[in-house]
Symmetry: C2
Subunit: 319 residues, 2 copies
Amino acid sequence: MKALRFINKQLELQEIDLKPTPENEALIRVVIAGICATDMEIIKGYMDFEGVIGHEFVGIVEECQTNPDLIGKRVVGEINAACGKCVWCMKGLGRHCPDRTTLGIFGRDGAFTEYVHLPVENLHIVPENITNRNAVFVEPLAAAYEILEQINIRTDVPVLLIGDGKLAQLIIRVLARRGCQIHVAGVSERKIERMNGLYSRVYIREFPMPDIYTIVIEASGSPVGWDAAVSTVEPRGTIILKSTFADAFSFNPAPLVIKEVTVIGSRCGTFGKALEALSGGMRVSDLIDAEFTFDDWQEAFKKAHDPETLKVILRMEGI
Amino acid sequence: MKALRFINKQLELQEIDLKPTPENEALIRVVIAGICATDMEIIKGYMDFEGVIGHEFVGIVEECQTNPDLIGKRVVGEINAACGKCVWCMKGLGRHCPDRTTLGIFGRDGAFTEYVHLPVENLHIVPENITNRNAVFVEPLAAAYEILEQINIRTDVPVLLIGDGKLAQLIIRVLARRGCQIHVAGVSERKIERMNGLYSRVYIREFPMPDIYTIVIEASGSPVGWDAAVSTVEPRGTIILKSTFADAFSFNPAPLVIKEVTVIGSRCGTFGKALEALSGGMRVSDLIDAEFTFDDWQEAFKKAHDPETLKVILRMEGI
C-alpha cells in the first residue's frame, strides 16, 4: 500500500507492505486525514521520528478479532497506544504510559497511508451526525479540551489566548462554548478573522500586550509568543503551554520565579468531550483551507507550509 | 556612612550621605548581614540594579516616627516595600505589588551599609532566643518556607531537591522539619555533607537521575539543574523553580508539554514561619562558612565566590 514516510530526513511516498494486524488491535481503512503542526515539526526533526507520519484521521474498521462488532464502523483513534498495566494506565492516563507508542509520532506508523493499526481501546465510533470533515478534527479538538480538564477558567475575567493557528482556532471555539471571555493575540488579520468574532479584544502583532492576565494560553508555537506569555501573565498567574517546539530557544526563567508564575504543560486530551461537542452542534470544518487527494501530497504539504493556511486535508480515495 | 554600592558595573565601598528617614519608615542600624546568591547575580548584571546591595540583615531600630516602641528593638526586614493600596497589597501579596521597591535589588538601597531604611510594616522583631547568626537567615529561610505555602508536599513519597548551595541547604531543613522524604542531587560532596544526613538518598554529579519524582525542587541555579528537573519529573508532576538566573540559556519547552508538567515559580516568603521555626529550635548558623568585618568586604566577596563556600557574613561593627 502507499504510505507517506519520513525517512533519512526526507518525506517520501513509498509502497510498503501491510503488516498483519496485531492481537487486540484493529485494521482501519483511512478515509480522510488532517495535516497538523506536529507533522510539520516532525519533518523538521521533532522526536527523531522515522516512519509513516500522520495522526489525525477518520477511517472504517476492516479487521478486528477481539471486537468484530466494530467492523464497518466509522472511527477516530486516540493516538497514544499504552501498555494498559502500569500506574499511568491504571489512572486512565495511558497517554503518559512510559511504554506507549504514539501514532505517527513515536514508535508507531501513522495515518498518512491506506490502512492503519490501532489498539481497539483507542477507537471511538463517530456519531452519524458528525461529518468526516468535522470528525477529522477530533484529535486536535480533544487537545484543546484538555485545557479545561487541567484548569478551571473563570468566565468573569478575560483569558488571553496567544496564537491564531490551527490549535488556537480550536481552543477559542472550546473556550467560547464554555462561556469564557477571550482576548486574542495573533499575527495574521486573515487568521484572526477566521475566529468569527469569538473574542472580545484582539491584539495583532502587538507584543507584549499592554494588559496583564490571570491566565494566558500560549498556542502560537513561537518563542515570541512564549516571551509574550511570560511578560503578560500577572504575578501568581498561570500560563497554559500548548505548543510543542522542535528546537530549543534562549530563555531566562527569572520572570517565572519573580512573578511566581505557574506554567502548565498541556498536550493530548481524551476524545469524549470533543465528540460530544461536535455531536452537540459545534462546527470546525470551516477551518479547512484546502483538500487534496493522497496522490497530491506534495501540493498538500506545500499548502500546509504557507503560514496563512489553516487546516489541510488529505483524502485517501482514489489510491 | 560607608556603603557597598554596585555602580557602573563595579562594586565599590563608598562614603555616602545618610538620607532623611521617609515617613512611615524606620531607620535601622545594621548589625550583621548575609551575602546571598542574588547579590552575586546582581554583580553579574541581574535586574540592572545600581545602588547599595544587600538584603539579608539583622539590625537595631534607631528612628521610627510612626511606631516609637520599635526604637531599640532588634529586627529583620521583609525586602519588598509595597504601595499598600493595590489589589496585590490587599491580598497580602505586597511582594508582588507592581509599584514595589526591593531592598538592594530593585529601586531601593540595600543593607550592606551602616544604616538602612524600611517601611515599618516590613519589620519583624526578632525573638530573644534567636541569635544574630541565625536571625540573619530569616529572609532566605522564608523563601524556603514559601514552597510549603504554594504546594502541599506529601510525606509518604520522596521529593527530589536539586542543588546543594545556600538556598538548597535551607530548603532541606524546612522539608525535613515538615517530615518529608528527601532525595538530593548535588555536585559537591562537602556541601552535601553539610546537609547533616537529612536526605534518604543522594546523587552526586549524576544527571539525569535514574528515578522519577512527582515533585522536583530546582534550587541549583544552573541550566544543568533545570534540565535535570525537566527530565526527572514524572508526567503530570511539578517542578518548583526556586533559582533566579542572571542570564538566559537555551531551553526547549517541549518536554514540559509532552509530560504535562506544572512549573511553579517560587520567590520570597513571609517571615512568620521562618521566625517561628528558628524560635522553635531550628538552627541554621552552622551554614556560616566565614565572617568578615565590613572593612574586609573584598575578602568576603572573594570567599563568597568560591563555589565550595556556603554562607558568608558581614559584621558591621568597627566601621
